[in-house]
């Protein structure tokens, strides 16, 4: 049995909290990849930070280890993480600028979904834009509108089981 040292896990990756949604239809390895990228884009994970081992992550999330291997292999191939022999896996130096593009991609995916729903409900575009602006303001009333990069937290699903 794998013993999970929660304190150690927290030290390695502060605030790292991955969630898997079983009903989203998005492959689990993809959900994991997306969340690592969100965390890098949002600054929670920085270049050089160590990420959990395959065993740790498989055990804590109750996910098949081959799925974690797949997520890490893809992240490495994309240059988001790097493996150091015998030491584990770390966020790569180049990850931050890579994930900026990813950040926009993620935002665009959500926007696309919103657009589909709005179109199905026959909501006119100006109304949709207003709703988005209201939601943004509700999150952060002080929010400036001068083109700051948008910081968003990853809420991928919420159904842990």
């Amino acid at each position: 049995m794998v013993k999970i040292d929660n304190a150690k896990l927290r030290n390695v990756t502060p605030k790292l909290h991955l969630q898997i949604d079983n009903r989203s239809g998005v492959p689990v390895y993809r959900q994991m990849m997306d969340q690592f990228k969100y965390y890098v884009a949002g600054g929670t994970l920085r270049p050089g930070d160590q990420i959990p081992s395959i065993r740790e992550l498989a055990a804590t999330l109750a996910v098949n280890p081959t799925t974690v291997v797949k997520a890490y292999t893809e992240l490495e191939r994309e240059g988001v993480i790097e493996k150091r022999h015998g030491k584990g896996a770390f966020i790569a130096q180049a990850a931050t600028h890579l994930t900026k593009a990813e950040q926009e991609g993620a935002l665009r995916r959500s926007a696309k979904q919103l657009a589909v729903e709005a179109s199905q409900l026959h909501v006119p575009s100006p109304k949709v834009i207003n709703v988005v602006r209201e939601e943004l303001n509700a999150l952060d009333p002080e929010r400036s509108t001068d083109g700051d990069p948008i910081m968003f937290t990853a809420v991928v699903g919420g159904n842990l089981n």
């Binding site: 049995m1 239809g25 998005v26 993809r30 065993r55 109750a62 996910v63 799925t67 089981n161």
Partner: protein, 302 residues
């Protein structure tokens, strides 16, 4: 890849005439976690019982680790653990009694592992099994099965009757079995399809004694889509079909399909149709299962 579990042309009819299996084929490679899903009565339990050598098929052969388990030696059978749906531990015995008994018979018995599970799941070692709740009895049976350190694990609806927390413990125990030593090959039947998305590498959908669809979970998730085409006319043009559709239905101007999209270019044709709006959505395993079994496109979960 080394095949660990295989079944060839299995057929089985019961005395009352029920056809339990009809020409079923199955092949599971080392290290795979194969989820068998299907309605009650689809034949899942019969497959497992035949693989364990507890039931003789009318036709066909089955092998686990290269052996027909109905003829295998005790040593060979010990490499396989099976948890049946209705498994009742002798309820007058305590965990301590059962552990003494099993540790004596199993060469690969891992008492450290058992102690960890007993502790983690707060199972009493001195109360008789009959005093445990149904969920605890199930976890006790699972702990005993895993402590034999099996190379192959066959689980028949292990999550039935467990509360969500206990089910999570079970899932973690299954992952632990995969992480331990040389790993494990697992065949399990379940109705909890969400759990399979995390645990399984492969799934097979059974219906009326056959496997009607089978695949790698991530491949299905990558390629199976719900495609909805909404026409501005009253109805779709004559002969319209969504490419790659496995199941399809039309209500007025809306055509909905469960489609297998292996290549995005498949959709270029319909995307360029004038007067049609195309939406493509991912599908959960549950939606795939419902759509393939019920012969209609089911969207959303039960």
């Amino acid at each position: 890849m080394e095949t660990v579990i295989s079944a060839r042309s299995l057929s089985k009819a019961f005395r009352n005439g029920t056809i339990a299996l009809s020409n079923l084929n199955l092949r599971i490679a080392k290290g795979q976690v194969y989820g068998l899903i299907g309605r009650n009565g689809a034949g899942k339990t019969t497959v497992l019982r035949i693989l364990m050598g507890l039931l003789r098929p009318d036709h066909g052969q089955s092998y686990v680790l290269g052996f027909n388990l109905s003829e295998a030696s005790r040593h060979q059978r010990q490499r396989v653990a099976y948890l049946s749906q209705s498994q009742q531990l002798p309820d007058w015995m305590t965990m301590n009694d059962l552990v003494r008994y099993l540790a004596y018979f199993y060469e690969s018995w891992d008492s450290d592992l058992l102690v960890q599970m007993v502790h983690r799941w707060e199972l009493s070692r001195v109360d008789s099994i009959s005093k445990m709740s149904v969920g605890k009895q199930r976890l006790a049976a699972i702990a005993l099965a895993l402590a034999t350190r099996p190379e192959v694990l066959l689980l028949d609806e292990p999550a039935a009757g467990l509360d969500p927390i206990a089910r999570r413990e079970l899932n973690q125990a299954i992952i632990d079995a995969l992480l331990n030593g040389d790993g494990c090959t697992i065949l399990l039947s379940t109705h909890f399809l969400g759990d399979l998305e995390r645990l399984a590498t492969h799934v097979g959908i059974m219906d009326h004694g056959r496997i009607i669809a089978e695949g790698a979970v991530d491949d299905w998730q990558r390629t199976m889509r719900k495609v909805q085409v909404v026409f501005t006319e009253d109805r779709p043009p004559n002969g319209f079909e969504i490419p790659g559709a496995l199941r399809s239905q039309t209500f007025g101007p809306v055509v909905t399909a469960l489609a297998r999209i292996t290549d995005d270019s498949q959709m270029i044709g319909i995307r360029s149709l004038v007067g049609a709006r195309v939406n493509i959505f991912p599908l959960s395993l549950e939606e795939m299962f419902l759509s393939l079994t019920l012969d209609e496109v089911v969207f959303g979960s039960v």
